[in-house]
Amino acid sequence: MFKLEKRPSPSKPWILATPILAVILTMIAGGLMFAALGKNPFEAIRIIFWDPLFSQQFAAYSRPQLLVKAGPLILIAIGLSLGFRAGIWNIGAEGQYIMGAIAGASFGLTFYPTESVWVFPGMVIAGALGGWAWAMIPAILKTHFRTNEILVSLLLVYVAEKFLASAAVGFLRNPEGSGFPGSRQLNRIEAFSNPELIANTGMHWGVLLAFISVIAAYILLNKHLVGYQIKLAGQAPRAARFAGVNPTRLILLCMGVSGILAGLAGVFEVTGPAGQISIDFNVGYGFTAIIVAFLGRLHPVGILLAGLLMALTYIGGELAQLMLGIPASAIQAFQGMLLFFLLALDVLSNYRIRMRKEGVA
């Protein structure tokens, strides 16, 4: 029989090794899933993980997509990771992302038509505020009424989705769109657009901000008192209170930052790659970012790498859909599987496995 023995502190080597091991196990389990779907598993795994970057035929298109998809994932996951570390569970980033996009787009479109260079920065600020305000709802309900932030933030995603639908067919609908739902094409209007900064790289303002947020989070967590308080609150809530950490402030801060970053991801997406407010504008980045945050071990550099990997599975998934007819939903199941393996393997970081000797009293 095996016996688990709690380690005094989590094992460093295992913390680094488990994400890699989890990816390998997911490839094996995913391969079995693809085989069950009647596809060649080796070909499927190659198309998802290798071809988007290195195939002659597709790389030119898919390489820039890597940053386009990784940008919002990293931006949102960095914000979520701060809260997760402190034991504050904002799982409604998808809603904050939507509200950020709507707030940003609304701000810009009130000035239509315009050529002012100040409108775009205004849209970005409006987007940040939109995401922040939406995150403040669960935060304030938590601090004032002790309401569970997990349920409230999640339920607000559905509210945001309904609001998105009403924006797309109602107050943000393109008046020149012959009645079709959806706003004006923001990325085709110069004053509103978030352009590709360097041609054929996928780099836009949101991606740049994602990189900056990685560095900022790293400094915050390692060099700043607030970072220390976040870590302390997560690991030893009681000790944190004795050390003078104000839980209310911490909740407002962590929820606020994650809301702002999710809102920014939304506004950069709607003005850039997505291009317009439409009914199905959101594609689940807010949820996938939860996986990214865990896969990156809630560490900024880890999140950067995990975001790139997750982006790869999105692009590879689209390619697999095109080449092998693997349904898009298979990739979602694939991503969920990755999180399962990671969580299961975590036991190796936190516990030592010992063989139990028989017959010992």
Partner: protein
């Protein structure tokens, strides 16, 4: 267009049943000290597996059975991860929901558009023909009555039986229960499987009775509302049932108001079930209400036997 109170009440019961099933299952899980946030994932897996089997076999009964098995199988993943691999319950529950949503659309790909076999309504001679009460209470599918019976059974088992006592002991203090010789992990696994089966049945009620169709993500947050209902009901079966019917009432009413073309924006009406759930959660968790005090003491805590 006027709203007929009799059909509204009948629709209320239909709208409440899936959430009631999922919530009563989750109540048992939480009473055992486990927080499974994967209810939404288990419901949608139940919805698709029940639908698929019912379409293929033509038997709604087999469909519901498959839904319960499907939900329980997904819950088994959660059980193994949290009980044997000692993983974080919040993260694992979320993973379950994300995985369930993906897997269900994968399974559902080939069967969307199919029509499930009709689920028969139970006609109770004498009662079903009664005016007003007949259509409201006595003209439903067997699953509706099953859900009510399940609530009563859960209440009775928790309150009066040894099994219920042990389950609550495990949820209040797993170390003490372990010291007394109870198999904490085994008991929790059973509770998790029961919760999964209930959520699966709830999901199948969506795809086979209420809609009845398969569409991606069709449970649309019902699993999360079920989780909220457990808090709302302060972990008491009777109150959870009351909450489910209240919620079902709002859902049924807003759908009718939408159809009636009333002067409230459709989107606001569609948001209302979620908004009202939030408001109710706030009321229940604020002030001196006993809801928070009634939560199982070991809820969400990892159990690791050192002895």
């Amino acid at each position: 267009m006027a709203i007929d109170p009799v059909t509204l009440m009948a629709a209320l019961i239909v709208a409440s049943t899936p959430i009631l099933l999922a919530a009563i299952g989750e109540l048992v899980v939480e009473k055992a000290g486990v927080l499974n946030l994967g209810v939404e994932g288990m419901m949608i897996i139940g919805a698709v597996s029940g639908f698929a089997i019912a379409v293929q076999t033509g038997s709604p009964t087999l469909g519901f059975l498959a839904a319960a098995v499907g939900g329980a199988l997904l819950a088994l993943i959660f059980g193994v991860l949290t009980q044997f691999f000692l993983s974080n319950q919040v993260a694992t529950g979320l993973a379950l929901t994300l995985f369930g949503l993906g897997l269900s659309s994968l399974i559902g790909e080939s069967i969307s558009g199919a029509t499930p076999p009709p689920v028969a309504r139970l006609n109770i001679p004498g009662l079903s023909e009664m005016p007003v009460l007949g259509p409201i209470l006595f003209s439903h599918t067997a699953m509706v009555y099953f859900s009510v019976a399940l609530v009563i059974a859960v209440w009775a088992v928790l309150k009066f039986t040894h099994v219920g006592l042990v389950l609550r002991a495990v949820g209040e203090n797993h170390d003490a229960a372990h010291a007394l010789g109870y198999k904490v992990i085994r008991i929790r696994l059973m509770a998790i499987l029961f919760g999964g089966a209930c959520a699966g049945l709830g999901g199948a009620f969506f795809s086979m009775v209420r809609v009845p169709q398969w569409t991606e993500g069709m449970t649309a947050g019902a699993g999360w509302i079920a989780l909220a209902l457990v808090v709302f009901g302060s972990w008491k079966p009777g109150r959870v049932m009351l909450g489910a019917y209240l919620f079902g009432g709002i859902t049924a009413l807003q759908l009718r108001l939408q159809a009636a073309g009333i002067a409230i924006p459709v989107e606001l009406l569609a948001m209302s079930p979620y908004l009202i759930t939030i408001i109710v959660l706030v009321i229940m968790s604020s002030g001196k209400s006993r809801a928070a005090l009634n939560a199982p003491a070991a809820l969400g805590k990892v159990f690791h036997a050192t002895g």
